[in-house]
Amino acid sequence: MLSALHGLSQSLDAYLVLAGVLFAIGSFGFLARRNAISMLMSIELMLNAVNLSIIAFGAFSTSLNVDASVIALIVMASAAAEATVGLAIVIAIYRNRKTPLVDEYDAMRQ
Amino acid sequence: MTGLAGLPLVSLVTFLPLVGAVIIAFLPSGRPQLVRYAALGVALLTCAVSIVLLVGFSAKDPAFQFVERADWIPMFGIQYKVGVDGLSMALVVLTTTLTAISILASFGPIQNRVKEYMISFLILEVGMTGVFVAMDLFLFYIFWELVLVPMYLIIGIWGGKNRIYATIKFVLYTLVGSLLMLVAILAAAFTFQASQGSWQNAFDVQTLAAYAQTGAFGGTFGFLAFGAFFLAFAIKVPMFPFHTWLPDAHVEAPTAGSVILAGVLLKLGGYGFIRFALPLFPEAAHTWAPAIIVLSLIGIIYGAIVALVQPDLKKLVAYSSVSHMGFVTLGIFVFQQQGLQGAILQMVNHGLITGALFLLVGVIYERTHDRTIAKMGGLGSKTPVYAAAFGFFVFASVGLPGLSGFVGEFLTLLGTFVANPIAATVATFVMIFAAGYLLWMFQRVAFGELSEFLRGLGDHLTDMKPIEAMTLVPLGALVVIFGLFPGLILDLVAGSVAATLNAVQQTAPVALGLWR
C-alpha cells in the first residue's frame, strides 16, 4: 500500500499541498508567537510557501516553466526588502520599549 | 426672462446676503456697532430687492417668473435654475423681512462675537431664500442643507446653557430626514433619466412634475420615495411625532434664532410638501394622506394641550408652533383649494405672529434673564406698552378675526371640513385649547400684582425700548393688514395652489369622511 505513494514527486498536488501546509504553519506562527522576530520568521515561511507553489506550477507546465523561476526570484527579492525594513523597525521599537514582545506594544487600543 | 432692468433679480435676492457676509468678514471685529449696522443694511437692502421683485411679479400668471437658468453640471443635467411663483414670492418676502427684523432684534442681546453672528445670519438667509427660489432639485437640496450650518452655529454659540445638546439634536435630526430625501431625489431623477435615456433636465422640478403626471413615480417606488420626502419635511415642519427637537432648539436658541426658526425654517417643510412632495408623487400623496392627516390632527390638539402646562415661555410658544403648523400639514393634505390656500396663509401668519411672540419673550428675557412663567406677573401695571403688545400678538395667535391668524386657520378648517367633516371637527376644538394656553399664559404674565421676582428687579424692569418696538411694529402692521386683506396673499398664491391641486388631481378626497 505504500506504493500508493509512487509518483508522489510527480504530482503537482503534492507540491501544492506541501506549500499550503507550509503557509498554514507560517500563519500559525504569526498568530501565535509573541516575539516580533518570530513573527517575522513566520512571514518568511509563508513567502517561501508562495515560492514553493510558484515553482511547483512552473515545474508542471512547459509554458510557465521559465516564468515560474523568474517570478520566484522576484518574490524572493521583495521578501528580502521586506525583511530589511521589518528588522529595522523591530530594532527601532526595541530601542524605545526594551522588549521584543509584540503583544506588549499596546499603548494604542480601542 | 430675468428681472425688470434685465437684472437677475432672483439671484440678487438670494446672494446679496452672501456678498454682505463677505464684506462684513473684512470689517474689524473690534467695532461691533459698525458690523451691526452693516448687517442691518445688507438685510434691508435684500428686503428692498425682494419688494422690487414682488412689485414686478404679476399675480395673474400662475407660471414661474423671473426664471434664470444656466447649465451647472451638464453631465447630470443639473442646472442652476431659479425663479419665483406666487408661493415662493410670498415666502421669500417673509424671509427677507423676518431676517432684517431678527438682525435688528439682535443688536441688544448679542454682545460677543457679533461679527461671526451676523455672518452666520446672512448666510442663513442665503440658504432659506435659495430653498424658496430653487427650481432644480439638486440646487434645492444644496440650499436645504446649507441652512443647517449657520443655524447650527447660531444655536450652538449664542444659545442658552444646554445649547450644544439642542443644536446637535437639531442638526442630526434634520440631517437624517434630508439625506433619505436625497436618495429619493436621486431615484426620481434617475427614473426619469432611464426613461428618457438622457440626463437632460433630470433634476428640473417642472420637468419631473410633468413627467410624474404620467404616473411614472407611482407604485411602491412612489410610496417609498414620498416616504423619504415626507420624513424630511415632517421633521422640519415639525409634525408629531417628529417635533421633539423643536422645543429644545427654541429654548436654547437666541431670540433672533427662535424668530427665524419659527418664522422661516419651519416653513421650509410646508413649502417642500407643496412644491415637491405633492407634484412629484401625486399617487403616493393620496395613499399617505390619511396617515398624515391623522398625525396633523394629533399634532394640533396634542401640541396645544402640552403647551398648557409648559412652565417656560419659549417652550410654550414652541409647542404652540407644533399645534399651529399642524394646520399647515392638515390643510395641504386635504387636497382642497381652501385648505391649501389656508395652509399657505397659515405659514405666513405663523411666521409673523410666532416670530413676534418670540421677540416679546426675548424682550422680557433681556430684563429678567428668566423665562419661567411662574416668576412673572403684573407686567400690565409695570410695563403697560409691553403688556399691550404682548396681548395684541397673543390674541393674534388665538386667531382673533380681523388679525391674520384667523383667516388662515379658518380656511384650513373649512377646506378640511369640505374634505372630511370629522377631521375638521376634531381640529376645530383647538380653538378652545389655544385660547386656554395663551390666555392663561398672558394672565400669569401680565395680570395680577407685580410678582416678587419682578419687584426684585427694580428699575431694570423697563418698558419696551424704541429699538424693540421697531422690531415689533412692522409685524403688528402686517398682522392687521393680512387680517383685513388676506386677499393680498390669497390672490398671490392662487396660481400655485391651482397648479399644485391639479397636479395631485383634486379627485378623491380623503376617505375617512363620515358623509362620504
Partner: protein
C-alpha cells in the same frame, strides 16, 4: 288706541319714512361701525397722554362723542329700515365694502346688511351704549385707567355693531369673537384683581366652546350652500331638499345654536356670566345685560328659517331656554351680591327669549330682547349707582333702607323691578306675556307639547322673577339699614351723569311696551319684523291666527299677570316695603329649614355646584391629562429619539473593544476574515452557472 300718536313711526300701517337720500345709506351704514373703531384707535393711542396732560375729560370727549354721533347716524338708518322705506324695503339693504376673503369658491364679502331685525338691534345697542358711555363718565370718575375703559367701550361698540350689521356668516363670527375680546378686556379691566383676571379668561374660554360649534356650523353652511352670504345661504338651505344636503339641516341649526348658547350664556355654558360681574358695573349693564348677551338670540332669530325647518332643533332650543330660565331663577333666589342677582335674572330672561325662539315666537323674543335690554340696563346701572353710594359694597346684607338716601336711584329701580316682574302696563308685561301666550298657543293649535312645557315653566319663572326682584329691592332699599356705620353718613346720590341715564332708561321701561306692543296681537313691532319672520311663521302655523282678546289670549294674560302679582306679594311679605316689621324670622325659618327645603336652599346658594363641577373637570382632571401628555412627550416621544442616539453610540462603544491593541489579535481577526472570505468564494464558485 295708540299712545303717543305724535311719535312719527307710531302709525298703524307702517308708512315708509326716510330722512336722507337713498344713495347716502351705504356711507351712513359703514360709518356706524367705522366711527367707534376710530374712536378706539385714537383713545388707545393718545388717551393716556391726553389724560395725563389735560385730565380725564380730554380722554373722554372723543369716545363718548363718537358714540353719540353714532347714535344719531344709527337713528337715520333705523327709522327707514323699520318702516321698510327704500332702499331697505322688506328684505333689507345690503352694502359691500370689499371682498374680505377671496379663496376660490369661498368668497366672503366684508359688507353690511340692514333690515328690520338689524334695525331693532341697532336701536338697542346704540341707545343703551350711548347712555352707558355717559353714565361711565360719572362712574369711572375716580379710576386712573379711564382712558383705557373708554377705549375698550368703543371697541365693544364697534364689535357689536359689526356683529349685528354683518352680511356674511364669517363676518358675524368676526364680530362674535371681537365682542368676546372686548368683553374679556372689560371684565378684566381691573386686571390686578386676580378674580377679575380669572373671570375674564373664563368668559372668553367658555364662549370659545360655543364658538367651536358656531364655526363648524358656518363651515357646514358653506358645504351645503357654497355661499357665505346670510340671506342667500338661508334661502338655499331651506329650498334644497333635505336629502341633497351634505350636512343635515338640524345638525347645522344646532351647531349655530351652540354658538348662541355660548354668547347668551345658556345652560350649561352659563357659568361665565355671573363671574363676569367682576367687571365695572357699566360694563355689566351694557355687555352682560343689554347687548352682547343678546347676540345669541339675534343669531337664532336671524337664522330662524333654519330652525323652523328643523323641528328637532327647535325643541332643543326651547328646552334649553326654558330650563336655563328656571335654573337661573332658582339661583337668583339666594344670592346676596346685588349684581349677581341681576346676572342670574339676566340668564333667566335670556332663557325666556330662547324658549320663545324655540316655540316660533320670534317677534316675541325680539320684543323681549328690546324691553329686557332697557329695563335690565336700567337695573344694572341702578345697582351701580347703589354700589357707588355705599362705597363699592355689593353685598345686599350690608345695605338696606337706602330709599330715602338715594331717591332717584330707588324710584328708577323700582320702575325696572315692576317692569321685569311683568306688571302691566310696563314694558316687561307685554313682551313676557306675548312669549307665554305664543308658547301656549303653539301647543294648543299646533299640538307641539313643548309649548305647554314652556308656558307652564314660564309661568313659574315669572312668579320667581317677581319674587327675587322684590327681594332685591327689599334687601337693598327697605328694612333697617345694615350699612357699615363708617360709610353710613357719607351715602349720597350719584352725580347727574349717572342719574340722567337712569331716568332716560326708565322712560322706555315704562312706555316701550305700550308703544310697540299695542294693539295686542298685531303690534307695531311684529309688523316691522313681519318680513323677517313671515316665511318661518307661515311654515310653522300655516295661515295666521286671529287674536282673541276675549278668548284664549285673555285668559293667558290673566294667568301671567296673576303669577307676577303673586310673586311680588310674596316678596313683599318676606322683604317688606318702606317700613320693617318682624318678618326676618320667616326668612331665617326658610334658610334654616331641613330636608328638601334645606337642600333646595343650599343648591340655590351654591349655584347647583356647577363651578365646583367645572373646576373638577377642567382644572383638576384636565390639568392631570395635560401634565401626563407632557410627560409622555418628554419620556416616550423624545425618549425614543434620544434612545436611537444612545443605542448607536453604545454600539460604537461596544465595537471599539475589538481594537485590543495586540497585533496577534488583529492577525487572528484577519485570518478568520480570510477563511470566511475563502469559504464564501468557494460557495459562490460552487454555484452552478
Amino acid at each position: 288706541m295708540h299712545l303717543l300718536p305724535s311719535l312719527p313711526f307710531a302709525v298703524t300701517e307702517a308708512t315708509p319714512i326716510s330722512f336722507v337720500d337713498a344713495s347716502m345709506y351705504p356711507l351712513l351704514i359703514s360709518l356706524i361701525p367705522l366711527l367707534p373703531i376710530l374712536g378706539f384707535a385714537f383713545t388707545a393711542l393718545f388717551g393716556r397722554r391726553l389724560m395725563a396732560r389735560w385730565g380725564r375729560g380730554a380722554a373722554e370727549i372723543v369716545p363718548v362723542g363718537t358714540v353719540i354721533v353714532v347714535w344719531v347716524i344709527a337713528l337715520l338708518v333705523i327709522v327707514p329700515a323699520l318702516t321698510h322705506a327704500e332702499p331697505f324695503g322688506e328684505h333689507g339693504f345690503e352694502t359691500k365694502l370689499w371682498t374680505w376673503i377671496p379663496a376660490g369658491s369661498f368668497q366672503v364679502d366684508l359688507g353690511f346688511h340692514v333690515d328690520a331685525l338689524t334695525a331693532v338691534l341697532l336701536l338697542v345697542v346704540t341707545t343703551i351704549g350711548m347712555l352707558v358711555h355717559v353714565y361711565s363718565i360719572g362712574y369711572m370718575a375716580h379710576d386712573p385707567g379711564t382712558w383705557r375703559f373708554f377705549a375698550y367701550l368703543n371697541l365693544f361698540m364697534f364689535s357689536m355693531l359689526v356683529l349685528v350689521l354683518a352680511s356674511s356668516w364669517v363676518l358675524v363670527f368676526g364680530g362674535w369673537e371681537l365682542v368676546g375680546l372686548s368683553s374679556y378686556s372689560l371684565i378684566g379691566f381691573w386686571y390686578h384683581k386676580r378674580s377679575a383676571a380669572l373671570a375674564a379668561k373664563k368668559a372668553f374660554i367658555v364662549n370659545r366652546v360655543g364658538d367651536v360649534g358656531f364655526a363648524l356650523g358656518i363651515m357646514a353652511i358653506f358645504v351645503n350652500t357654497g355661499t357665505m352670504n346670510i340671506q342667500d345661504s338661508i334661502a338655499k338651505l331651506i329650498e334644497t331638499p333635505a336629502a341633497a344636503l351634505t350636512i343635515p339641516l338640524p345638525v347645522v341649526a344646532l351647531l349655530v345654536f351652540a354658538g348662541a348658547m355660548g354668547k347668551s350664556a345658556q345652560f350649561p355654558l352659563h357659568v361665565w356670566l355671573p363671574d363676569a360681574m367682576e367687571g365695572p358695573t357699566p360694563v355689566s349693564a351694557l355687555i352682560h345685560a343689554a347687548t352682547m348677551v343678546n347676540a345669541g338670540v339675534y343669531l337664532v332669530a336671524r337664522a330662524n328659517p333654519l330652525f323652523a325647518h328643523a323641528q328637532e332643533a327647535m325643541v332643543v332650543v326651547a328646552a334649553i331656554g326654558i330650563f336655563t330660565a328656571i335654573f337661573a331663577a332658582s339661583i337668583a333666589f339666594t344670592q346676596t351680591d346685588i349684581k349677581r342677582v341681576l346676572a342670574y335674572s339676566t340668564l333667566s330672561q335670556l332663557g325666556y327669549m330662547f324658549a320663545a325662539l324655540g316655540v316660533g315666537a320670534y317677534a316675541a323674543a325680539i320684543f323681549h330682547l328690546m324691553t329686557h335690554g332697557f329695563f335690565k340696563g336700567l337695573l344694572f346701572l341702578g345697582s351701580g349707582s347703589v354700589i357707588h353710594a355705599v362705597h363699592e359694597e355689593q353685598d345686599m346684607n350690608r345695605m338696606g333702607a337706602l330709599w330715602r338716601k338715594i331717591p332717584i336711584t330707588h324710584w328708577t329701580m323700582l320702575v325696572g323691578t315692576i317692569a321685569i316682574a311683568g306688571i302691566p302696563p310696563l314694558a316687561g308685561f307685554f313682551s313676557k306675556d306675548e312669549i307665554l301666550g305664543e308658547a301656549f298657543k303653539f301647543a294648543w293649535f299646533d299640538g307641539l307639547a313643548i309649548g305647554y312645557v314652556v308656558w307652564g315653566v314660564g309661568l313659574v319663572v315669572a312668579m320667581m322673577t317677581a319674587f327675587y326682584m322684590w327681594r332685591l329691592m327689599g334687601k337693598t332699599f327697605y328694612g333697617e339699614s345694615r350699612v357699615d356705620p363708617h360709610v353710613e353718613p357719607r351715602i349720597h346720590e350719584s352725580p347727574w351723569q349717572m342719574t340722567l341715564p337712569l331716568v332716560l332708561l326708565a322712560i322706555p321701561s315704562i312706555a316701550l311696551g305700550m308703544v310697540l306692543g299695542l294693539p295686542l296681537g298685531d303690534s307695531m313691532l311684529s309688523r316691522w319684523l313681519e318680513p323677517v319672520f313671515k316665511e318661518s311663521e307661515a311654515f310653522l302655523y300655516g295661515e295666521g291666527r286671529a287674536y282673541q282678546l276675549f278668548g284664549i289670549d285673555g285668559y293667558l294674560i290673566l294667568a301671567s299677570v296673576a303669577v307676577a302679582t303673586i310673586g311680588l306679594v310674596a316678596g313683599w311679605m318676606l322683604f317688606g316695603f318702606f317700613r320693617t316689621r318682624g318678618r326676618r324670622s320667616t326668612v331665617e325659618a326658610i334658610t334654616n329649614a331641613n330636608g328638601a327645603t334645606r337642600f333646595l336652599y343650599r343648591a340655590s346658594l351654591n349655584k347647583w355646584w356647577f363651578d365646583d363641577l367645572n373646576d373638577l373637570l377642567f382644572i383638576r382632571i384636565g390639568g392631570r391629562v395635560a401634565a401626563f401628555l407632557w410627560w409622555f412627550d418628554r419620556t416616550i416621544v423624545d425618549g425614543a429619539v434620544n434612545g436611537v442616539g444612545f443605542v448607536t453610540r453604545d454600539a460604537g462603544g461596544g465595537l471599539r473593544r475589538i481594537q485590543t491593541g495586540r497585533v496577534q489579535n488583529y492577525a487572528l481577526g484577519i485570518a478568520i476574515g480570510l477563511l470566511v472570505m475563502a469559504g464564501s468564494f468557494l460557495l459562490i464558485v460552487g454555484q452552478p452557472r
